[in-house]
C-alpha cells in the first residue's frame, strides 16, 4: 500500500478540521508525558486484557479436554453431528475479517481515510455473516432437532448418554465466542462511526483502531482453536 498524503484525501471540511475529535487535534491525556507514552500504555493494557480472554476460554478448553478423555465416544459422535463446511466457511470469513482489520490499522497509519472505512465495513460485515451462518445453519437447525443444552436437550437418536454434555459444552464455547464476536463488532462500529463523523483516526492517533483490531484478532484466534476441536477432531 502506498503512502497517502493529505492531497490524496478529499479536503477536510471545516466542521471536522476544528473538531476536537479530529485526529490532528487530539491531545494526549495530561497524566502522560507525551502521545507515544499514552499509545504504548493503551496497547500494553490491551495485550494484558487479551491475556485474560485467553484464560477465560481456557476453562472451556480444559473442560473439553477432561470430558473428551472421560467420554471419547460421545465426543466423537458430537463432532460428527457438526458440518465442517459451515465451520470452515466461518473460519474463512473470520480470517478475511482479520486481514481487513489489520488493513484498517495500516490505513489509519497511512491516513487513507477512504480505505480505513471500507476495511472496517468489510470487517463488520464479516462479523454479521459469521453470526448469520452460526444462527441460521447451525444453532437454529440443531435446536430444532432437540440438540439443545442442559434441560432443553431432547434429541431422541443420541447414541451415547453423554452427548448431552457435548452439546452443553458446544453451546457454552461457541456461545461465549459469539458474544465476543458481537462485542468486537460493536467496538469496530464505534471506530467506524467516529471515523465517518470526525475522521478521528490518522497517523498520529490510531490507538482505538489498533486495539479494536487486536481484540478482533483474539476473537479470530479463539475460533481457530474451537473450529478444529469441535468440528474436525473425531
Amino acid at each position: 500500500m502506498t503512502t497517502m498524503t493529505d492531497t490524496n484525501n478529499p479536503p477536510v471540511p471545516e466542521r471536522i478540521a476544528k473538531h476536537p475529535n479530529f485526529w490532528r487535534n487530539r491531545k494526549h491525556a495530561e497524566h502522560f508525558r507525551n502521545h507515544d507514552e499514552e499509545f504504548d500504555a493503551a496497547k500494553f493494557g490491551m495485550w494484558l486484557f487479551l491475556t485474560t480472554e485467553v484464560l477465560l476460554f481456557a476453562g472451556i478448553f480444559v473442560a473439553y479436554a477432561v470430558f473428551r478423555m472421560m467420554y471419547p465416544d460421545a465426543w466423537s459422535n458430537g463432532s460428527h453431528y457438526l458440518d465442517w463446511r459451515f465451520g470452515g466457511a466461518n473460519t474463512v470469513v473470520l480470517l478475511i475479517s482479520s486481514w481487513t482489520a489489520a488493513s484498517a490499522v495500516r490505513c489509519a497509519q497511512m491516513n487513507n481515510q477512504k480505505w480505513l472505512k471500507i476495511n472496517l465495513i468489510i470487517t463488520i460485515l464479516c462479523a454479521f455473516i459469521f453470526l448469520w451462518v452460526k444462527l441460521q445453519f447451525e444453532y437454529f437447525v440443531k435446536l430444532g432437532d432437540g440438540k439443545a443444552p442442559g434441560t432443553f436437550f431432547s434429541y431422541p437418536n443420541a447414541h451415547d448418554a453423554h452427548e448431552q454434555l457435548w452439546w452443553s459444552l458446544y453451546y457454552m464455547g461457541t456461545g461465549l465466542h459469539a458474544l465476543h464476536v458481537v462485542i468486537g463488532a460493536g467496538l469496530l462500529c464505534w471506530v467506524l462511526v467516529r471515523s465517518i463523523k470526525y475522521q478521528a483516526y490518522g497517523p498520529g492517533e490510531y490507538t482505538m483502531v489498533e486495539n479494536s483490531a487486536l481484540y478482533w484478532h483474539i476473537v479470530d484466534l479463539i475460533w481457530i482453536f474451537l473450529f478444529p476441536l469441535l468440528y474436525l477432531v473425531h
Binding site: T51, Y71, P149, H162
Partner: protein
C-alpha cells in the same frame, strides 16, 4: 527522590488539595461520583470496603454468638395440675430470632447462611479489593511520581463495577442469604433453594466483582511499567509497589478463570448444562479445580499488598534501610509465580496419590519466599531506631501473627497431618491468622501510616495504640483457641458441637467481642481525627518515598512539578527526609548534623 525545587522555578501556581471542591452538597457529590482522580477513587474504595468489612464482621459476630453453647435438649419435670409431667425444650439455638427475620427454617440454617455471608462478603467484597483498591489506588501513582494511573476512567469504571457487584451480593443477603459456603461447591450450590434466585445473585456478584478486580490489576501493571518518574528504575520503587505489582499480575491472570467458572456455574444452575453435575456425567471435582485455580492465587492477592505495606512501615518507623531489598522484591514475584501451582492442596482427598504428593511439595515452596520476607523484616528492625506508634505496632503485630499463620500452614501442606487437620477449626484458625493476622493487620497499619497524608489530619496516637493493642489481644483470644479446637477434632462449619468443646468456643466468642471493641476504638479515633484532628505536616514520619514530598493532603495533580528520583526509597543513612529538620533526622554519615 526530590521534586524539582518549586520555589526556585518561580513558585507554584495555586492548586488546591484534592479534597477541596465546589460549594454545595449536590455538586460535591457529583464531583466525587464522576471523578477520575485516583485519590478520590481510592477514598471511595476505602469507604466501600470498610462498609463491607463491617457487614462481614457483623456476620462473624453472629456466627460466634451461636457457638457460645451447644444445642442441648433439656427435660424438666414440672408439676401440672398435680401431675408430674416432662417438659422438653432446647437451649443454645441462639440464632432463632435471626432465623425468623431472614426466613430460615431454624437456627442451624441461619448459621449456615451467616457463615456463607461472612465468607463471601469478606473474601470477594472486602479483602480482595481492600488494600490494592483503596491504599493502592491512592498511593501507587504518587509513590512512583505519576499524576494518575494509566487509565483513570477505567479506574472509576472498576469502582462502579465493584458497587454493582456488591449490590447483587447485598440483594442476595436481603432476600434471605445463601448457605452454600463462599466456595459455591457443586452440586450443592446448583440444587439448593432451587425455586429462588438468591444463589444466582450471589454467584453473579462474585462474577461481576471479578471484572472490577481485573481492571484494577491491569491498570496497575500498565501504570508501573509506563508512568514511573524519571530516574526511577525498577529497583528504586518502594516495596509496596512491588507488592502491588505482583498482586496485579495474579489478578489479571487468575481472575478470568473464576469468571468462566462462575459463568458455567450460573448456567449449570439455571439450565442444568451438566458440566459439574455427576448425574449427567459432569464432574463436581472439575468445579473445585477451576475454583481453586483462581481462589488459591487470590489468597496471595490478599496477602501480597499487606506484605508491601509492612515493608514500608518497618523501614520508615525504624529509620533503617530495608534489609534485602531485592530479596523482598523478587520474593513477591516468586510467591506470585508459585501461587499458580498449588491449588490442588485444597482438594487433596479428591485426587490421586501422586498428584497429591506433587501439590504438597509445591505448597512447601511457598514457605521459602515468605520466610525470606519475614527474615528480612526482622533484620530491618535490628539496630533500627524504632518508633513505637500505631503503624509500627501493627507492623510488629503482623510479624507475630503472620508468622504463626504461615508456620501453621505447613502441617496443612503435609499430607499425613492434613488428613487429620483438614476441614477442622485448625484450618479456620490458620486461615484467619494469615488473612486477618496478616492482611487486616497490615491494612490497619497502612491506614494509620498514610492517614495523615490522605486526609491531612493527625490521629490520636494513644487512641490508635490502644485500639491496636485491644485488636491484638482480641484476635489471639478468638483464633488461637481454634487451633486447639481443630486438633481436638472440632469440624469447621458446624452450628453445633459436643459439650467438651464448649470452654474453648466460649473463650473464642469472648475474643470476638474484644476484637469488636478494638475496632470501635479505631473507629472513634479516626472519626475524631477527621473532625478535630491536628493538621498533619507534609512528612510526619520522616519517610523518603515520594508521597511524603507533596502536601498533606496531596494537591489535585499530586505534585507541582514532575518529581525526579534521585535516591532510593529507604536511604535513611544518607538523605534528610523532605520537609524535615536535619536536626531531627541526624545522618550517621554526617556527624556534623547532630
Amino acid at each position: 527522590m526530590s521534586t524539582l525545587d518549586a520555589h526556585a522555578s518561580g513558585g507554584h501556581h495555586e492548586e488546591g488539595s484534592y479534597l477541596s471542591g465546589p460549594p454545595g452538597m449536590i455538586s460535591r457529590i457529583w464531583q466525587w461520583a464522576s471523578t477520575v482522580d485516583h485519590k478520590k477513587i481510592g477514598v471511595m474504595y476505602l469507604v466501600a470496603v470498610l462498609t463491607m468489612f463491617f457487614l462481614g464482621g457483623v456476620a462473624a459476630l453472629a456466627v460466634r454468638y451461636e457457638l457460645l453453647d451447644p444445642v442441648r435438649t433439656v427435660v424438666t419435670q414440672m408439676e401440672v395440675d398435680g401431675v408430674m409431667t416432662e417438659v422438653v425444650s432446647t437451649t443454645g439455638q441462639r440464632l432463632d430470632p435471626i432465623a425468623k427475620i431472614i426466613g430460615a427454617d431454624d437456627a442451624n440454617q441461619a448459621y449456615n447462611r451467616l457463615f456463607t455471608l461472612h465468607g463471601a462478603v469478606m473474601v470477594f467484597m472486602f479483602i480482595v479489593p481492600s488494600i490494592p483498591a483503596s491504599l493502592g489506588n491512592f498511593f501507587l501513582p504518587i509513590m512512583i511520581g505519576a499524576k494518575d494511573v494509566a487509565f483513570p476512567r477505567l479506574n472509576l469504571l472498576s469502582w462502579y463495577i465493584y458497587v454493582v457487584g456488591s449490590t447483587f451480593g447485598v440483594l442476595s443477603i436481603i432476600m434471605g442469604g445463601v448457605d452454600t459456603g463462599w466456595t459455591f461447591y457443586t452440586p450443592y450450590s446448583t440444587s439448593t433453594d432451587a425455586d429462588h434466585i438468591r444463589v444466582v445473585f450471589m454467584v453473579l456478584a462474585a462474577f461481576i466483582l471479578g471484572f472490577s478486580s481485573i481492571l484494577t490489576g491491569l491498570n496497575f501493571v500498565v501504570t508501573v511499567h509506563k508512568l514511573r518518574a524519571p530516574g526511577m528504575g525498577w529497583f528504586d520503587m518502594p516495596l509496596f509497589i512491588w507488592g502491588l505489582y505482583a498482586t496485579s499480575i495474579i489478578q489479571v491472570l487468575a481472575t478470568p478463570v473464576i469468571g468462566i467458572t462462575l459463568f458455567l456455574l450460573i448456567f449449570e444452575r439455571v439450565m442444568h448444562i451438566g458440566i459439574f453435575d455427576p448425574a449427567m456425567g459432569g464432574d463436581p471435582v472439575l468445579y473445585q479445580h477451576f475454583f481453586w485455580f483462581y481462589s488459591h492465587p487470590v489468597v496471595y492477592v490478599m496477602i501480597l499488598p499487606g506484605m508491601g505495606i509492612i515493608s514500608e512501615l518497618l523501614a520508615v518507623h525504624s529509620r533503617k534501610h530495608i534489609f534485602g531489598y531485592r530479596a523482598i522484591a523478587f520474593s513477591s514475584l516468586g510467591i506470585a509465580a508459585v501461587s499458580f501451582l498449588v491449588w490442588g492442596h485444597h482438594i487433596f482427598t479428591a485426587m490421586g496419590e501422586l498428584a497429591a504428593i506433587l501439590f504438597s511439595g509445591l505448597t512447601f515452596l511457598v514457605a521459602i519466599p515468605t520466610a525470606i520476607k519475614v527474615f528480612n523484616w526482622i533484620a530491618t528492625l535490628y539496630k533500627g531506631s524504632i518508633a513505637i506508634n500505631t503503624p509500627m505496632l501493627y507492623g510488629l503485630i503482623f510479624l507475630f501473627t503472620f508468622s504463626i499463620g504461615g508456620l501453621t500452614g505447613l502441617p496443612l501442606a503435609t499430607l499425613s497431618t492434613d488428613l487429620h487437620l483438614h476441614d477442622s477449626y485448625y484450618v479456620v484458625a490458620h486461615f484467619h491468622y494469615v488473612m486477618m493476622g496478616g492482611t487486616v493487620m497490615a491494612f490497619m497499619g497502612g491506614i494509620h501510616h498514610w492517614w495523615p497524608k490522605m486526609f491531612g489530619k493527625m490521629y490520636n496516637e494513644w487512641g490508635g495504640m490502644l485500639g491496636a493493642t485491644i485488636v491484638f489481644i482480641g484476635f489471639n483470644i478468638t483464633f488461637f483457641t481454634q487451633f486447639f479446637l481443630g486438633t481436638q477434632g472440632m469440624p469447621r462449619r458446624y452450628a453445633n458441637y459436643v459439650d467438651e468443646f464448649q470452654t474453648l468456643h466460649v473463650i473464642s466468642t469472648y475474643g470476638s467481642w474484644i476484637l469488636l471493641l478494638g475496632f470501635l476504638v479505631h473507629l472513634v479515633t479516626l472519626l475524631h481525627s477527621l473532625i478535630a484532628g491536628e493538621k498533619a505536616p507534609a512528612n510526619p514520619w520522616g519517610g523518603l518515598t515520594l508521597e511524603w514530598e507533596t502536601e498533606s493532603p496531596p494537591i489535585e495533580h499530586n505534585f507541582h512539578h514532575e518529581p525526579v528520583c534521585t535516591h532510593g526509597p529507604y536511604d535513611f543513612d544518607t538523605v534528610v527526609p523532605p520537609h524535615c529538620d536535619p536536626k531531627d533526622y541526624p545522618l550517621p554519615s554526617n556527624p556534623g548534623s547532630h
